[in-house]
Amino acid sequence: MSAPYEEITDATEGKVYTVSGNDWTELVETLTGQQDEQLVVNMGPQHPSTHGVLRLVLNLDGETVTEARTVIGYLHTGIEKNMEFRTWTQGTTFVTRMDYLAPIFNETAYCLGVEKLLGITDRVPERAQAIRVMMMELTRISSHMVAIGTFGMELGATTPFLFGSREREMVLDVMEYITGLRMNMAYIRPGGVSVDLPAGAVDKVGELLKIMPQRIKDMRKMLDANPVYLARTKDVAYLDLTGCMALGITGPMLRAAGLPWDLRKSQPYCGYETYEFDVPTERTADVYGRYLVRMAEMEQSLKIIEQALDRLSGPLKGDRVMVDDKKIGWPAQLALGPDGLGNSPDHIAHIMSGSMEALIHHFKLVTEGFRVPAGQAFASVESPRGELGAHVVSDGGTRPYRVHFRDPSFTNLQAVPATCEGGMVADVISAVASIDPVMGGVDR
């Protein structure tokens, strides 16, 4: 370990610290000059097997990885700063684009944070909570499907990818039917959800529930005992519980190390305590274990969706989906029209020709937004990759003062050196893929 500062100089104003650190190119140069037997391989940021724009700088001794460095930031989008310039409701449009494989989770974490600040957590209607739960679990399935599919593809097997994207497509169809968009739907809003389930949505989800178990079984049949798959995954990228804790790793990686830590059970939100499901764990702490956990989680998700669906079509039918507070709830109970757009003819008729006050109110709420009492809150949900936390700070205005996301991919990616060093270079790919980082979430 070197000194924290490159240099410290005394100037008239006081001490001047230079913390420039080493440039990556410089680093590569130094390393190349130093070791004659070592090979420095630069993977990415544009590489098909690194899951997006991730860059790995590997130090190789023959086939063995002696040092692995991860370079991120190639997708830094400035979402957190951009949100400070938009209203609280518009924030959902931004957060949904962070971890783009699990948009609903970002929205939920953010909205739970905002609701905590507003103090309306208990007033969010139950129907909205059940819809949130259902949408989250649907997203979990689609996200895990992509994770397993791309994992297969990165190892050179196309069939898991084809299976995975076929199944994901099925989920996306349902999502589109409900929200109007396939991805990045900004469906969950502070106080509830943007539109109620359209007619026929329950049947659509029911259909999915009928087909999906068989599809998951197919995937299991193909991979669970596949000797090639086992050879590439068993005992690869081992990371035990101590390592996970130290590195702050959550999600399937932690559960594959044997700890049944799942926020849905331990610190429930959105009414998860009323659903019946198990937290699958494995004790192998390797890539195969993570795969098994993901598979089992999808099966559990189906169970949760079924229960949520029963409630939505049964006791919660016809309930509201937005908090009953005209100052916060988006003015219109949007309805999904035949054109697939969320508009609301009744509401428009009301504000345009019925009531002047309603028009003013609508205008105020849409342009200015609602005010959120000053303070800070942290809300987290269990996303497919681990604990997704939103640190939301308000100064009492109509825009967030600061929003920070604790993205599980960002934290979990720190495990790359721990899991890869000392292993074979080919196993780097499966190690990274088993972490399942989504660069949009990592870099935000």
Binding site: H47, G52, V53, R97, S165, R168, R182
Partner: protein, 172 residues
């Protein structure tokens, strides 16, 4: 059967476009689903996504391009063999989209020349296929040599004369 060399070459080129996928963000996921079984890009002879820019002639920039990534994009573009085309997929790649901030390049046309701008956030796979078909049409009708120079001038003139969208009306 009569044709020109240009048409034959265009036909050959358009039917064997090898894309170098430049998946960056959310749009890349839709790009992947385009290659998936439901939308099946193989119908256009384009399922072979090239991992190496040297063996590719179409770059599909799918997603938001950060300032940090811009030099990489340009480098990959420079490595591709001529003739080459670029599709800017999604509003982020086309104009920066909703992220008009310090981190994102406001449209990849700041860095590489773009042939097709594809709006949407993200564009549906069908929209991407439509963009690809339009690009095929463009490739088919590309001219050579002096004709090409003339074509470029003509297209430029056409673009300059074009009315703003609002004046064009709904009639095509």
């Amino acid at each position: 059967m009569l044709s020109t060399v240009e048409q034959v070459a265009g036909w050959a080129r358009k039917n064997s476009v090898w894309p170098a996928t430049f998946g960056l963000a959310c749009c890349a996921i839709e790009l992947m689903s385009t290659g998936g079984p439901k939308h099946d890009l193989a119908r256009f002879g384009m399922e072979r996504a090239s991992a190496s820019p040297r063996q590719a002639d179409l770059m599909i920039v799918a997603g938001r391009l950060s300032q940090k990534m811009a030099p990489v994009l340009r480098q990959i573009y420079d490595q591709m063999a001529e003739p080459k085309w670029v599709i800017a997929m999604g509003v982020c790649a086309s104009s920066g989209g909703m992220f008009n901030n310090y981190a994102i390049v406001q449209g990849v046309d700041h860095v590489v020349p773009v042939d097709i701008y594809l709006p949407g956030c993200p564009p549906r796979p069908e929209m991407l296929i439509d963009a690809i078909v339009k690009l095929h049409d463009k490739i088919q009708n590309t001219k050579f040599g002096a004709h090409r120079a003339k074509q470029i001038d003509e297209l430029e003139l056409q673009a300059l004369r074009a009315l703003p969208l609002i004046d064009q009306g709904s009639a095509k």
